[in-house]
């Protein structure tokens, strides 16, 4: 902090809570002018909240913001823009039915009549295009543009407003590697012309590739600050995940039994006719955990939906016991449940529970029509509450109050409640999407142990997770998905991150001499 020029941005002891969730705890950091500074952390570490506070979308509960050494109050994006701060949001703030120019001038018009604004934006667009290689068709409808160009429009919008400090929230999440490279070149050009860039990401590679300095966030706190040149991916990874590195579970070898669910050539087309699942062959055996790894958006969510009966497959068939399910003979979620398939959905707020319901009601969804909870169309409240109290005890859901609204439990406790509901039904097949997304560390280990216990009790389990560590820790077998297909299979105990990473990018080639029985098979 002994540099003569004050930092472009300094945050002091920023604190922010959303109800029971403490998103930022006394965060302090300073960002040097004319640098690219990374803020890295896992999902839910509080990076986006912090930057939204800097941009005025949220107001901090306490703490100070300094821009160029001056204490400022940023109560709205308008204040932030006035201080030269611009933000490229993870979910674009664009109007699909507007042209590129209209989107650029929105909020930065020069006068009450539009034409002069649009003309000056057109000139500015040309200049920025030349200076930074940011080229877009000014008259194109934004909704018609590919995502990478929409992102360019977002950057152009920020620059058009004369921002000197640019915040980019997970910019590469929607980009291909090539497009990401291109974006980084643009960011470097911006820095070389004096702009300050803040890059929020959870990808180590990007931090190493493009930043000058990096802050690591974990559970709402800044846990480390490093100059990028002085650190390594390994160190950052350790700082980022903290205790999670010790994700090793002392699990016993599986006793895989008979196939519980067999999928043959399963395929699914979306409403535009594009194949989102293609030729999936899959066997789940009793007493084993199969993990699905992959970059999100490669068909994992759709696979879960088909297996859970939420969507029928377009082609292929699914066999569970004596029942065969295909496009002509679909089975809905209720029938699937009757067949012994339980499902812990990826998005628990949309599919897992009903937020305004009492915990006792959410703990029963899908099984509410069974005795002893209901008979003759009437619900038995006492039985529901007792059942929920028992589940809470067994799965350590806190607080142990069945009458509390589901929304008032923390993410981890909601997840435990859903898991409890599904495991209590003693399914033969358990599908779990993102078992520990947004779940605190204490609960993660607990959830993992419960899954292992269910496995040892003979349940066939399918786990889909974007956390590679989690897939590796839990799975007896790992399948890798890419572009709606299964492109690789690895045995759990021999899996290594590098091989899985290459498979996830679909660039893995099998070694000349296959090792033992654990070798992967790649799809043709």
């Amino acid at each position: 902090m002994s540099t003569p020029a004050p930092p472009a941005v300094e945050l002091r002891a920023i604190d922010k809570s959303f109800g029971p969730v403490h998103a930022n705890r006394s965060v302090s950091l300073s960002i040097a002018r004319g640098s690219i500074t990374g803020i890295i952390g896992e999902n839910g570490a509080g990076k986006s909240t912090l930057m939204s506070i800097l941009y005025g979308l949220y107001e901090a509960d306490s703490g100070e913001i300094l821009i160029d050494g001056q204490a400022v109050r940023i109560r709205s994006p308008r204040d932030a823009i006035a201080h030269g701060i611009g933000m490229v949001h993870q979910h674009f703030m664009l109007i699909d039915t507007f042209t590129v120019l209209e989107n650029m001038v929105l909020g930065a018009e020069t006068g009450p009549v539009l034409r002069p604004s649009l003309e000056s934006a057109r000139r500015e667009l040309e200049r920025l295009g030349n200076d930074y290689g940011l080229r877009v068709d000014p008259d194109a409808m934004v909704g018609d543009l590919p995502v990478s160009e929409q992102q360019r429009v977002e950057i152009l919008k920020v620059l058009y407003r004369g921002a000197r400090i640019l915040i980019l929230d997970e910019p590469s999440a929607v980009l291909t590697p090539q497009e990401t490279e291109q974006l980084f070149r643009i960011l470097q050009a911006l820095r070389d012309r004096g702009a300050t860039v803040v890059l929020i990401t959870h990808k180590l590679r990007e931090i190493m590739a493009v930043t000058d300095a990096v802050f690591v966030m974990r559970h709402g706190e800044v846990v480390a600050e490093r100059r990028t040149a002085d650190t390594s991916s390994e160190e950052l990874a350790e700082l980022m995940v903290g205790r999670k590195v010790r994700l090793e579970l002392d699990k016993t070898p599986p006793h895989a039994g008979a196939p519980a669910l067999v999928a043959h050539g399963l395929g699914l087309r979306d409403s535009r006719g594009i194949a989102v699942l293609d030729g999936i062959d899959l066997t789940l055996r009793a007493g084993e955990i199969v993990g699905i790894a992959g970059v999100s958006g490669n068909g994992q969510s759709e696979l879960l939906e088909v297996l859970a009966g939420i969507r029928p497959p377009t082609v292929g068939r699914l066999t569970i016991g004596a029942r065969t399910i295909d496009a002509a003979h679909p089975a809905g979620p209720a029938e699937m449940r009757a067949l012994g398939v339980a499902h812990v959905p990826e998005d628990r707020h949309r599919y897992g529970l009903v937020a305004p319901f009492e915990a006792a009601e959410s703990a029963l969804l899908g099984y509410h029509d069974k005795a002893p909870f209901s008979s003759h169309g009437l619900m038995h409240h006492r039985a529901m509450v007792d059942h929920c109290a028992a589940l809470m005890e067994r799965f350590d859901v806190r607080p142990r109050r069945p009458e509390l609204r589901s929304a008032n439990f923390s993410g981890g406790n909601q997840q435990k409640l859903i898991l409890a509901r599904e495991i209590a039904a003693q399914p033969r097949i358990l599908l779990v999407g993102q078992p520990t997304r947004g779940v605190d560390i204490g609960a993660i280990e607990f959830i993992h142990r419960q899954l292992l216990a269910a496995r040892d009790a003979g349940c066939a389990i399918l786990v889909v997770s974007v956390e590679l560590d989690e897939v590796m820790a839990l799975s007896d077998r790992i399948l890798v998905m890419y572009g709606g297909r299964i492109v690789g299979e690895v045995a759990g105990e021999t899996a290594d991150e590098r091989t899985l990473g290459l498979m996830m990018a679909n660039v893995w080639t099998p070694p000349e001499a296959p090792e033992r029985q654990s070798t992967a098979v790649t799809a043709p």
């Binding site: 979308l57 703030m93 018009e109």
Partner: protein, 324 residues
Amino acid sequence: MDDWITFPVLILSATLRVATPLILCAMGGLFSERSGLIDIGLEGKMLAAAFAAAAMASVTGSAWAGLGAAILVAEVLALLHGFACITHRGNQVVSGVAINILVSGLTVVFGMAWFQRGGQTPALPPEARFMPINLRGSRAFADVPLLGRLYGDLLGGHNLIVYLALLIVPLTWWVLNRTRFGLRLRAVGEVPLAVDAAGISVAWLRYRAVLICGLFTGIAGTYLSIAQNAAFSRDMTAGQGYIALAAMIFGKWRPVPALGACLMFGFLDAVAIRLQGVRLPLIGEVPVQFIQVLPYVLTVILLAGFIGRAVAPKAIGVPYEKEH
């Protein structure tokens, strides 16, 4: 002699007169809905304005005072809707329906209390109304075949508000598509979060939209009670606010197609009036009730499925909340 020309001229001229309140309401609703606020309350605002205009005009003897009172009352109701739906994020349909019911009752109560005519207001003398304007030289032209009738009875012979309504359509188009306010208004109806992130107040934009809507419905109400008619009678809007809403949706939330839809509804109504008591070949005399029901049936049919893929403003009906 020229019956073949009289009939269409009269029909078209009646179309314009019937369509005027629809056009005004539809343009008002368009501002509101393009900003993301559903406005079921067009009907109520127009009815309240009609009452205010007639009451004020009968007390002061001035049509302009009537217009002023009508706009004021419509704006108060518009602000009430805004307060419920923008500031307090209430349900927009419920708020609109509440306004309609409230006004339907209140106008009659006040009318009985003030004028003792069973909810009616006293008949107004011509000075207290907006009367048809005869275009210069229409008398002289009247004998010129075709053109005379077109000039005198179709182009001319309407009151001020009819012309105002026709002027408001291109004005609405221009404001929406060619001004900063219009750009922001359209944006706030699509992605309010983006507007907020651009540093623009979502609430203030929507309040302005609601105020414009109040202004237009105020003028529409004035038209009903002191231009087209000479007094207020209970529930005189008779669902025209809803028809205007339907026309606006049928016009896919765009001013010019919405104008077209209003004119079509107006035309149907004009034809219906003309056909009353007329014996048609083959069919015979058409019952009055059947003709009168036509515009409403058409509304239902059009709204039910004939509007094709109407792309509503994306954020319509959704209260804007920044933090959840």
